[in-house]
């Protein structure tokens, strides 16, 4: 039983060791939870199947979701070819229809963007815990593109893996009020989200716009001001600065903002 040069002790151990490996392997294979959607839930978008397979094979779901989210934002920030031309000329907002332009008023973020929902679903199929992507996509679909049914569908899919995510539930309520044409209900619903430092900027934009429309200029001004520190998106930043400049002309606003309470 000498341990020098392996002795006869180690070969005897090999068999139980292999059995132990198989036992642990079986337990790990059948018993361990897999907190991600099955491969059947991942639908191919933009011929990216091989890229997705590589991401799954290397255990890089989260990174793949990040990259698809960047693509989604690039897609949404780019002019749609079919909206250029006459439609853009008829637009109410200077610069409407130009690449990356999101209108400042009621038309903010409007467009058809046919791939938007499938890209968003793809991101959440890869990483269902990417809450901000879910909020951003559902908010854009419901409030900017006027596709609330798709937004609700997306949020319901996201809730399968995060059933207690209050941000999704809040947004669902806001979409419900929006469908009932109740802007004050929408505002009340999304208000808790605005206190979150990572609240998607498009929801802040929506809240500011609805407040402004309801005549609550001070609240709108403060929300636009918060956008200056919480986002790096230059379109939203420029819009926030522009709106703040406009609101500063409103009666009593500056004084109220300078001396809150």
């Amino acid at each position: 039983m000498s341990i020098r040069n392996g002795g006869c002790f180690y070969p005897v151990l090999a068999l139980p060791a292999a059995a132990l490996l198989a036992l642990a392997g079986q337990e790990a294979f059948t018993g361990a939870a897999h907190p991600f959607p099955p491969p059947s839930a991942i639908r191919e978008v933009r011929r990216g199947a091989s890229e997705d397979a590589l991401a799954l094979g290397l255990g890089l779901r989260r990174l793949a979701a990040d990259l698809w989210f960047i693509r989604l934002m690039q897609y949404y920030g780019t002019e749609e070819p079919e909206r250029s031309g006459e439609e853009a000329e008829e637009a109410v907002d200077p610069g409407h229809g130009e690449p990356g332009h999101h209108c400042a008023h009621e038309h903010f973020g409007e467009g058809r963007y046919p791939e938007f929902a499938s890209l968003a679903r793809h991101i959440l199929a890869l990483d269902p815990y990417f809450t901000n992507a879910g909020l951003y996509a559902a908010g854009s679909l419901a409030f900017n593109m006027n596709r609330p049914a798709e937004a609700v569908e997306l949020l319901n899919e996201a809730l399968l893996y995060r059933p207690k995510e209050w941000k999704y539930l809040t947004l669902l309520a806001a979409i419900g009020y929006s469908r009932a044409s109740d802007p004050s209900g929408v505002l009340a619903s999304i208000e808790p989200l605005l206190n979150e430092p990572d609240c998607p900027v498009m929801l802040r934009q929506l809240a500011a716009f609805l407040n402004k429309k309801a005549g609550r200029y001070r609240t709108a001004y403060l929300i636009y001001a918060s956008m200056l520190t919480t986002t790096k998106d230059r379109f939203y930043l420029e819009n926030a600065r522009r709106e703040m400049a406009r609101l500063e002309g409103k009666p009593d606003l500056v004084e109220k903002v300078r001396s809150p309470g």
């Binding site: 090999a14 294979f29 059948t30 361990a32 290397l58 989260r62 934002m73 690039q74």
Partner: protein
């Protein structure tokens, strides 16, 4: 036993020094540093999700680059010793073969830990310079990356005893790494197969390391852990011990 442990410690210390003095070690770290800093570009494109993208991309790069180094080091650990005939010098002394193997394996584990630590510092410095804090569960993610690397390094170390070249060892181990992340997909396939193919696939899957168990980097802070900590610790211990024992079986037959 004291003599045995002393041999393991001496061999591990010597091999670890050999590892970090290796020019490839420095090259891999520099390359990783450049890539981690290049992830700034992707971060800028992510606009408001910059912190998340820099964190995810950096952790993924750390894992893949340390994996590449660890596989190369494990594949050539013994063969290089044989080629340079250093092994004759070591084994001609009263050094037990199990201690020699344990020391070499420990050095590989230490080298990957060292490389991860250096890269984590580079990564955290980038996050700091961009004005972000340490991401949630960062230390846990790095620790579990190391756990995955321990498993695959042990497997590669064992494969290197019967493989014909460094390239084939790296290829086999990289395949295991990929399959190790496909557990859920293998389960999915099993539900769609039956009979003998299902039995073969099922049995094969037990001998593939379930690396998804340790993929905390991918799970993030929000996802539930896939298994309990004791089971994960036991699973890791089994995956360290069993390849070591089989390596020893192969090694004791070799004539020097």
């Amino acid at each position: 036993m004291t003599e045995y442990l002393s041999s393991v410690r001496n061999i591990a210390a010597h091999s670890l020094t050999e590892n970090y003095r290796n020019r490839f070690f420095a090259l891999f770290v520099v390359f990783a540093g450049v890539l981690i800093y290049a992830s700034l570009l992707a971060g800028v494109m992510a606009v408001d999700e910059e912190a998340r993208v820099i964190a995810d991309l950096g952790l993924a790069l750390m894992e893949l680059i340390t994996l590449a180094y660890s596989l190369l080091a494990a594949a050539s650990s013994i063969s290089r010793e044989v080629e340079t005939k250093t092994i004759y010098l070591v084994l001609s002394r009263p050094v037990p073969r199990p201690a020699y193997l344990a020391g070499r394996a420990a050095a590989l584990y230490g080298a990957s830990a060292l490389m991860l630590a250096v890269m984590a510092l580079i990564h955290l410095s980038l996050l700091y310079f961009r004005g972000f804090g340490v991401p949630a569960l960062y230390a846990q993610a790095v620790f579990f990356i190391w756990c995955k690397l321990l498993i695959i390094t042990s497997a590669a170390f064992f494969v290197s005893f019967f493989s014909t070249s460094v390239v084939s060892t790296v290829t086999i181990s990289a395949t295991l790494w990929t399959l190790g992340h496909f557990t859920a997909e293998a389960k999915f396939l099993l539900t769609r197969t039956s009979g003998a193919p299902a039995a073969v696939l099922g049995a094969a899957s037990w001998f593939i390391p379930n690396l998804q168990l340790f993929n905390a980097r991918d799970l993030g802070a929000a996802a539930p852990p896939p298994a309990g900590p004791w089971f994960m610790a036991a699973y890791l211990a089994v995956w360290l011990a069993v390849p070591y024992l089989f390596s020893l079986l192969m090694f004791r037959k070799k004539e020097f």
